[in-house]
Amino acid sequence: MRIIFKTNYMQDIRPWKDGYQFSLYLILLAAVAAAPWWLDDFYLGELTNVLIWAIAGLGLMILTGHTGQASLGHAAFLAVGCYANVILIETGVPFLIAFPLAGLLTGIVGATVAIPALRLHGIYLAIFTLALSVLMDDIIVLAEPITGGVSGKYLGGVEIFGHLVDRWATPGPFFWLVLAVAVIVTLGYINLLRAPLGRSFIAVRDSEVSAQAMGVDIARTKAISFALSCAVTGLAGALMGMFAGAFNNETFSVVISIQLLMMIVIGGLGSIHGAFLGAIVIGFLPQFLSISKEYAAALFGGSTVAIPGLEFGIFGMILIAFILFEPMGLYGRWLKIRTWFELFPFYRKDMFKRQKSYLKTERLR
């Protein structure tokens, strides 16, 4: 076990614990950035997909993981980001301006939605956002002149400084674009968490009454969280649209919303790592299933016909298993394994057991 001797405040403030941890993350980043050279185009595409999901997961993590507001409607904000990006590009705005603008627009839409949504708690907020997700489908169909309705829209490559960035023609540069966005969003997220605003999110999540007593304006904090969450989700939506190439009202369905929420629960609520780990599971599971199905078919001589609902059945089972056995998600599991090795042989079984909360002060509402 490494014991870090703290001698100044920056050691606590900076995001990495020590040089060792910092270099590990640098190596990881370098290895991922070099992916176009060591992965074939198919797996590079899959990795790009995982990263886009991770960005969307980071967006939802701000709201659900750190501010404690469940949302079952984030696919609606993916759609807003995606359509805003495409429509801006179609009107001749260069991609490098259209893309952040799409995020900003989604953030504004999110803040507007947040004003009525703020009054709702827990399950009611989930239902409200679920309704939003269902509504978005109709809104896209109704706004046909702008959105193309059921026939949808198409987005080929975009140009960045004269270079073509396209999912199919130039998968490498497209991957780097997605990676750059993921890194920037992650860095912003880390900064947020070590500053007062991020801590006020956590305060609102864990105890609204005492957050208020500490001078945190609950409504304002929730609205900011909603707006930031939606802005990041909008960026992911824009990338998702570019990744899909073609999309219509059904691309960003309620199912995507539910998958997003499942993803961050499986990854581990309330951690940045959780968004990435969850995205890896959600992104690679369909491929893993189809590969293992083929493998099983070859082994047992069965046919490779598609089994309807298999993917969702397995997603659901994984989710139930996580909620029952590992509520802290994959990241929580990793923390336990790491602690086990660090403390070997002194790990105690109940080290991470959550103590029963004592009776809360009267809830006032």
Partner: protein, 254 residues
């Protein structure tokens, strides 16, 4: 000079009068205790100061400000900090993070500078941490600095809550039953801390407490309440020997 002033405050929940025409004032620099049987309205007084409830009638003034004109989140900005009867910490955060939330009212940076973590945000973080470390030293919480609240024993949580309230640099500290559930030894520690908070930090303390040993040990004045109304106000000895107080606790001799 009176720091906090209650003037004929009445609060009703439907037909129940929780606080009945209550007037008292807390002087700058004193330790003021509120005692009374369960349901007397002691915690309700705290929740009125925290602006969780709107009084039915009357006025509450703090430091020459009309407290009834601010939002619940605005009370801290005037310099009022509190603890809760049943501990309301941020469970899934570390002790250090909890205390840093206490610094929230001193936040000067905006969202953008925090997301980019500009030098102003960095400076502010260092300032916050310097103050928080002083409080950690003051309340002997060094061993728990990086521990999650959810894994801490009850006695430590109680102290962390006081620390978080102190981190706001308040003028008035509201302690809601600081000694409830503490061992004799921990109660003694709490007693010396309350003394030190008043003496060294110059913070006025208003507390609700059942432990009469603690109350008579630290408080300058005591307010006894029953059924939302004032029974007696004076020094601890005066209040304890007041006939109305004895009657409220023990019943009338027949």
């Amino acid at each position: 000079m009176s720091l906090l002033e209650f003037e004929n405050v009445t609060l009703k929940f439907g037909g129940l009068t929780a606080v009945d025409d209550l007037s008292f004032d807390v002087q700058q620099g004193e330790v003021f205790a509120i005692v009374g049987p369960n349901g007397a309205g002691k915690s309700t007084v705290f929740n009125l100061i925290s602006r969780f409830y709107d009084p039915y009638a009357g006025a509450i003034r703090f430091d020459d400000h009309d407290l009834l004109r601010v939002k619940p989140s605005g009370v801290a900005a005037y310099g009022v900090a509190r603890t809760f009867q049943n501990i309301e910490l941020f469970e899934h955060a570390t002790v250090l993070q909890n205390l840093l939330v206490g610094r929230h009212r001193h936040r000067k940076t905006n969202m953008i500078s925090e997301i980019l973590f500009m030098p102003s945000a960095r400076r502010q973080e260092i300032e916050s941490r310097e103050r928080v470390e002083e409080i950690i030293d003051f309340l002997d919480l060094q061993a728990f600095r990086d521990k999650m609240i959810s894994g801490l024993p009850y006695g430590v949580r109680k102290v962390v809550e006081v620390a978080r309230a102190l981190a706001t640099d308040p003028k008035l500290l509201l302690l809601d039953e600081p000694a409830s559930g503490l061992s004799v030894e921990e109660t003694t520690d709490m007693r010396w801390w309350i003394e030190d908070i008043r003496r060294q930090m110059g913070i006025t303390v208003l507390m609700v407490e059942h432990d009469m040993g603690l109350v008579s040990g630290v408080s300058d004045r005591v307010l006894a309440m029953a059924d939302g109304a004032k029974l007696a106000l004076g020094t601890s000895a005066e209040v304890q020997s007041h006939p109305a107080v004895i009657e409220a606790y023990l019943g009338k001799a027949s």
